[in-house]
């Protein structure tokens, strides 16, 4: 292409009408920036979720199946018993998992906390203190050592200004546990540690905005000792996760029509979130695509102007023996140059604007420079250039099909 007389002619034509060419290319710049930035933003969001979920990729979450929560004919007492994982089911899970992982039984409830006079809502988890360190990290303070001690999630601690040693009141009214006579009763626990932030996790323990207490304290306040809200299995070898899931399923969900428990893991949650984010990304990319469509019209217009201004020159070229394919090539080159110009500027701007947008919207650029994210820049540039070339095809065809006599006569 370089050294080709037709490419030289195209470069000179663009240079001769530089302002017009730059203005037409701005459309492509905007299109490339829109596509690249939106694509990178979507991908960065997906990568962040994936990264957060991968920390619990080795975890199987087992919950009681929703259908069993209250089918017609169930009495409230039996529903309460059937609402969680029973001790019998737990021991079956333990026997299936054996030495291949750690089984953690968890009680949980949504409740209200009060620190000083500031109220807040969040999750309260009851579990064996020795299980806490299996998947949570106490960043500040120590683990629970006695019944009245608790750990606070990072976000909750931040919003309520809780420090190690503070006492918080926990309402037990909302869940209405059996044996709790006063609806306004408040039990007090002392915070002994703050759990490090975990972000989006797949193990259904949203500790960031909750607190963790010992299971003795939890069952004393909320009852339901024989019914766990969820059982997490932390598998030693992630490759065996599906085998263990299948084994648990075969052992507990004996009735295929009405499974007793629901078994999920990070990958199934990731699939759901990824598919939602992908749909969102595609939608945003389509909006970016509209700007490229507008750019295509602008490039088409400029190319038609270029052809119409050079009719006599086209006549000269054709009359002295230039093949119509060569004339066509000259105008396609011109469109390509506009594309390269727009895509080049757009690519550089995408890097800067994309970085700023990702940083501003997500608060982190940890994933920005990964190939999955940066690939949107060359992709956007390529789409921009292809759009330009396509826009130049008709003007090029029009030029190459002119009658040389008529073209020479035009002034």
């Amino acid at each position: 292409m370089i050294g080709d007389i037709f490419f030289d002619l195209s470069v000179r034509s663009v240079r001769l009408n530089f302002l017009r060419s730059i203005l037409a290319s701005i459309g492509i710049v905007i299109g490339v920036v829109a596509i690249s930035t939106m694509g990178m933003l979507g991908t960065n969001m997906q990568l962040q979720v994936k990264d957060q979920l991968s920390s619990s990729a080795n975890t199987i979450v087992i919950t009681a199946d929703a259908i069993r929560m209250g089918p017609p004919g169930f009495s409230s007492s039996s529903a309460s018993t059937e609402a969680g994982i029973t001790k019998a089911q737990l021991s079956k899970i333990r026997s299936v998992v054996g030495a291949n992982g750690t089984v953690i039984s968890i009680y949980s409830s949504n409740t209200e906390f009060t620190s000083g006079s500031v109220p807040a809502r969040g999750m309260i988890y009851g579990m064996d203190p020795s299980d806490v360190t299996e998947f949570l990290k106490v960043g500040n303070g120590t683990n629970i050592a006695s019944i009245n001690e608790a750990l606070a999630g990072y976000t909750l601690a931040e919003s309520l200004g809780i420090k190690v040693g503070d006492k918080i009141k926990i309402s037990s009214a909302s869940s209405g546990p059996p044996g709790n006579s006063s609806s306004a009763s408040r039990a007090t626990v002392r915070i002994v540690g703050i759990i490090d932030t975990r972000g989006t996790v797949a193990d259904s323990v949203s500790s960031d905005n909750g607190i963790v207490v010992s299971r003795e304290w939890y069952t004393a306040q909320y009852g339901g000792k024989d019914s766990y809200d969820q059982v997490n299995v932390i598998v030693d070898d992630t490759d065996k996760i599906y085998t263990i899931e299948d084994a648990i399923d075969a052992r507990i969900n004996t009735d295929e029509k009405s499974p007793a428990v629901r078994i999920s893991d990070a990958s199934s949650q990731l699939d759901t979130i990824s598919s939602t984010l992908e749909t969102l990304t595609m939608f945003i990319l389509a909006i970016g695509g509209i700007s490229l469509l507008v750019a295509a019209v602008s490039i088409f217009n400029v190319m038609m102007m270029s052809v119409n201004e050079r009719v006599q020159e086209i006549g000269i070229l054709l009359s002295i023996g230039t093949e119509s394919g060569e004339v066509r090539k000259m105008f396609v080159y011109e469109a390509l140059i506009l594309g390269i110009l727009g895509a080049g500027i757009g690519g550089v701007m995408s890097l800067v604007i994309g970085y700023s947008v990702v940083s501003a919207m997500m608060g982190t650029t940890k994933f920005f420079f990964l190939p999955e994210s940066l690939i949107y820049i060359p992709e956007g540039m390529l789409i921009g250039m292809v759009v330009c070339v396509i826009s130049g095809l008709y003007p090029a065809w029009h030029a190459s099909n002119m009658d040389p006599i008529d073209a020479l006569r035009s002034e």
Binding site: G3, I5, L9, R12, S13, L16, Q312, E313, G315, I316, L317, L318, S319, I320, G321, T322, E323, S324, E326, P404, I405, L408
Partner: protein
């Protein structure tokens, strides 16, 4: 020994179909032009001179009749073949010079060579031809709009000659030049004729026509006089 004509028109008619009615620009014209002829085509406006030049330059094909160049019937050629014949066998010199405005004088001369050989000229032919018509290297880098009319026509002659065509088609080559420069251009064309080129010249000027060894006068699309 009889020699086949280089260009042969047999009963050539060119009709333009217009909304206002059909217009016959060339009406049953027959003409032979031999190799190394110097032919002047004269006639008033609308007599069919330009149409004749378009036919001889294979920019157009006859409505009826046969036009042969070097023994090949133009009507039997495809578009690409006609394009290649224009590039290789015919050199065009126009009244308005028709140089490519985006190319320098040198590049204008080099351009037909690139069309033919698909590469830049490394033989020095383009420079040599420019010098032969009186354009030095310094002037060669200038764009057409930076040259005088006479200089532009010299560049156009060099461009017409660069692929060593048999035929030079000159459409009023001195029409846009002052008398002195016009004669200089005609001297160049005469010397090219002497070197074996077939020169076909359209002109209004009888003095310019005197350089030719044959004159054809057209009137209303017919040959009124041939000498």
């Amino acid at each position: 020994m009889t020699c086949a004509p280089l260009i042969s028109l047999v009963d050539v008619t060119k009709t333009y179909y217009l909304e206002s009615g059909d217009f016959t620009a060339l009406d049953h014209v027959s003409l032979d032009i031999m190799d190394n002829d110097f032919v002047a085509i004269m006639g008033p406006s609308g007599s069919g001179k330009s149409t004749m030049m378009n036919q001889l330059g294979i920019l157009d094909v006859p409505t009826t009749g046969t036009l042969s160049i070097d023994g090949r019937n133009v009507a039997d050629m495809g578009t690409l073949e006609r394009t290649h014949l224009r590039r290789d066998a015919i050199g065009y010199i126009f009244q308005k010079f028709y140089l490519i405005p985006l190319l320098s004088a040198y590049e204008n001369v080099e351009y037909p060579l690139i069309l033919k050989y698909k590469k830049r000229d490394t033989t020095g032919r383009a420079s040599a031809l420019l010098e032969a018509v009186g354009i030095d290297n310094e002037k060669g880098v200038h764009r057409p709009n930076q040259l005088s009319g006479g200089q532009q026509q010299r560049v156009a002659i060099a461009r017409a000659l660069v692929n060593d065509p048999k035929i030079l088609l000159c459409d009023e080559p001195t029409g846009n030049l002052d008398r002195k420069t016009g004669y200089q251009i005609m001297e160049i064309l005469c010397s090219l004729h002497k070197k074996g080129k077939t020169v076909i010249l359209v002109t209004h000027d009888p003095k310019i026509a005197e350089y030719a060894n044959r004159t054809i006068r057209l009137e209303d699309g017919r040959i009124a006089e041939s000498s």
